[in-house]
Subunit: 138 residues, 2 copies
DNA sequence: CTGACATATTAGGTAAATACTAATAAGATT
DNA sequence: AATCTTATTAGTATTTACCTAATATGTCAG
């Protein structure tokens, strides 16, 4: 428990972008991530190399793919995000604010703990944005 | 709103230590913080200089004092901490885990937002540790 | 197949945050 | 005054997070 590999906010952001594009026909290119994050390609390359070191990403010939571990970390973060958002909105916070805050903490909290909260608040099927909260794990 | 000066986790930790000692007869010395944080004095000095730049601390002749702004930031973080802890424990999380998580996020979230939550959950007077949750602001 | 253009990579540089050791300065205490 | 404890300075290293400029690698039109 809580043995998740530490990532930074930027690494989180890149991971999310990679995960969000996972079902698309064409893989995300460096320039795409570069555009989405408003950072220059060399900066992104650097970021991706760190994600590679952490085992979340594999790269060859300009292609970047999430590894199994990367996919499951991505899913955990997204799920954390939606559950935290739900919890905050349920407790009086404005949706936009909740989303912004969640972005800054969803990758810092271990998924197991968030999962407990999910159970406790009655396994809501959707976050306040209307997006599905799935239980990804087997 | 949300115009709080960005601080890092280490800066937060030092701020908390300074705040916790505020009522004591003798001021906290560098070595004290050094001991409490298990970091060498030069590292702490560096940290304090950054807090000074951010206007949270004033230093002269080895003495370190929180400024007005430092005190109020300290209080906001402590309050954030206790409210977040309360929220998490109320929603099924183990107290120790909640405390640990709260430590990592209490300084990242603007106090106004947390205050909304506080109102919504019925202004509990104590956190799960039994410590007072006060409304410090006028 | 060959330029031209787009994209990726390398190289090299900067800055902030986080640490350290070793040396020096300043205070306090005996 | 000598000693001991603290504080400070100087110098070094690593990680994250950026950049520009140069080079390499594709790719696609003709």
């Amino acid at each position: 428990m809580s043995d998740e590999i530490r990532i930074t906010k930027k690494e989180r952001d890149a991971l999310i972008i990679l995960g969000n594009h996972i079902d698309e026909e064409f893989p995300v290119r460096l320039v795409d991530i570069s555009d989405e994050m408003s950072l220059k390609p060399p900066t992104i390359l650097n970021l991706l190399k760190r994600l590679e070191d952490k085992g979340y990403v594999e790269r060859e010939k300009g292609m970047t793919v999430l590894t199994k571990s990367g996919i499951s970390r991505y899913r955990e973060i997204v799920e954390n995000h939606r559950i935290l958002e739900t919890l905050m909105v349920k407790n009086g916070m404005d949706l936009d604010r909740a989303c912004l805050i969640s972005e800054n903490i969803d990758f810092l909290i271990d998924h197991e703990s968030i999962d407990n909260i999910f159970e406790k608040i009655g396994k809501p099927s959707k976050c306040p944005h209307g997006r599905k909260i799935e239980q990804f794990h087997e």
